[in-house]
């Protein structure tokens, strides 16, 4: 059955009718055509689908779209502004923190949420924040370096 929901996605108001059994991940990719958020496992085990929901990074494959009624969602598409890459995006590129890039949107959303909540994380806190974002390419160290650098410089607010 379908429900009408209203939410904010990357700052923009969205009103859409969605089946109650569909996930937020499905809504973002298939209904709103925001393909940056990826489906890796569909079970909340890989983090490729990470988005920021009401300020908290979550696996969007584990959220029903209807649960996001009235919510604010931010995805990787909201990182770059006015055609300019964000500080995290630039740091990831500079540090070679991506190869195939599949985990990267999720990594950046986890990192963004961390730095908003905790602008000066310890190494341990950075590791904890990305613990749910699996990467098969980089071995994680360049990802940690990129996040560390952005934190040290002061992340964009």
């Amino acid at each position: 059955m379908r429900r009408q929901i209203r939410l904010k996605v990357n700052g923009e108001d969205v009103s859409v009718s969605v089946d109650t059994h569909k996930t937020l991940l499905w809504l973002l990719r298939e209904e709103l055509h925001l393909k940056g958020t990826k489906e890796g496992c569909g079970r909340g085990e890989c983090g490729a689908c990470t988005v920021i929901l009401n300020g908290e990074p979550v696996n969007s494959c584990l959220v029903l779209a209807v649960e996001a009624d009235g919510a604010e969602v931010r995805t990787i598409e909201g990182e770059a502004r006015d055609g300019r890459l964000s500080d995290l995006q630039e740091a990831f590129i500079r540090h070679n923190a991506l190869q195939c890039g599949f985990c990267t949107p999720g990594m950046i959303m986890s990192a963004r949420a961390l730095l908003e909540r905790n602008p000066h994380p310890t190494d341990e806190e950075i590791r904890e924040a990305i613990e749910g974002n699996l990467c098969r390419c980089t071995g994680y160290l360049p990802v940690l370096q990129a996040i560390r650098e952005v934190a040290a410089r002061g992340a964009r607010s």
Binding site: E56, L62, A129, G132
Partner: protein
């Protein structure tokens, strides 16, 4: 997942009325980190979900020195482990919660959901068992209290009827040191191969909670230990281990063999006893 009705009651009364009406055709939706996986792979099927996150009592997380801690049914694991009062008075719950899955899951997964999913390996169960926790349970007739020690009845099974809703966990004020140690396959996040929680105070004696080594999480009480210095004594350790081994029955599965689990139980119980035997108000997990 097929056709699914979705309800989002604003009050406890609305929620219990829905559960009464739909019974076993309904599922409570809190964090959804177990429910959505089950719906997707077909191990769970239901006609409707009752989203309880809008109910004020379910969102409550509060501590009173006289009555202890109340963890509402919609309180996420991350919210629990980041709460200053929880860190101050129940650090073992921070240890247990921190070991549960990963930060993304913990932003949605609830403490109550972990208990109601009733995996034998549930990370919140051993610590809450040694703390003497109870569940406040509601249905459309009223509320009742269920001690956690009697709650689990088998893998993924518990004593509640389908129309009952867990409003929250009540954790009494506690004295003594407590710790939760978890053995998993990898350094990253994983289910427990073996989980052991321990609590010792001269008043309560020794309590151990064990996960992933029996069809349910297990509570083992060892009264009669007068002081923490005795926890290091060989005869006391031998007696504790004998009682533990007679209370568990680990299986071999994809995560560990029975033999490995038995060996890890002995290792972790000894480490827990060592932690509990140290001086100082609170134990640090390593």
């Amino acid at each position: 997942m097929r056709e699914l009705e979705y309800f989002r009651p604003a009050t406890l009364e609305e929620a219990t009325a829905l559960l009464h009406r739909y019974g076993s055709r309904a599922r409570v939706l809190a964090g959804g980190t177990d429910l959505l996986v089950g719906l997707r792979d077909g191990t769970i099927s239901c006609a409707c979900v009752v989203d309880v996150k809008a109910i004020p009592e379910m969102r409550q997380l509060s501590f009173r020195p006289a009555s202890g801690l109340f963890i509402g049914g919609a309180v996420t694991v991350n919210r629990l482990i980041r709460d200053p009062e929880v860190g101050r008075h129940y650090p073992v719950l921070v240890q247990a919660g921190r070991s549960l899955a990963n930060a993304l899951v913990r932003n949605r997964a609830t403490v109550v959901g972990n208990l109601c999913n009733a995996s034998p390996a549930a990370d919140m169960a051993p610590a809450l068992l040694v703390l003497g926790a109870s569940l406040r349970v509601a249905d459309n007739g009223g509320t009742r209290t269920v001690p956690l020690a009697g709650f689990f009845t088998g893998p993924k099974k518990h004593v509640l009827r389908p129309e009952e809703l867990v409003v929250g966990v009540e954790v009494p004020p506690v004295e003594g040191r407590a710790v939760y140690l978890k053995k998993a396959r990898i350094k990253g996040f994983d289910l427990a191969q073996v989980g052991v929680a321990g609590l010792f105070s001269p008043a309560t004696g020794l309590r151990l909670g064990l996960g992933a080594v029996a069809p349910t999480p297990v509570l083992v009480s060892v009264p009669g230990i007068a002081g923490r210095e005795q926890l290091g004594a060989e005869d006391v350790q031998a007696a504790v281990l004998e009682k533990v081994f007679s209370s568990i029955d680990p299986i071999s599965d994809q995560r560990a063999s029975r033999e490995y689990r038995l060996a890890m139980v002995e290792y972790l119980v000894k480490r827990v006893l060592a932690h509990l035997g140290e001086a100082g108000e609170h134990a640090q997990a390593d």
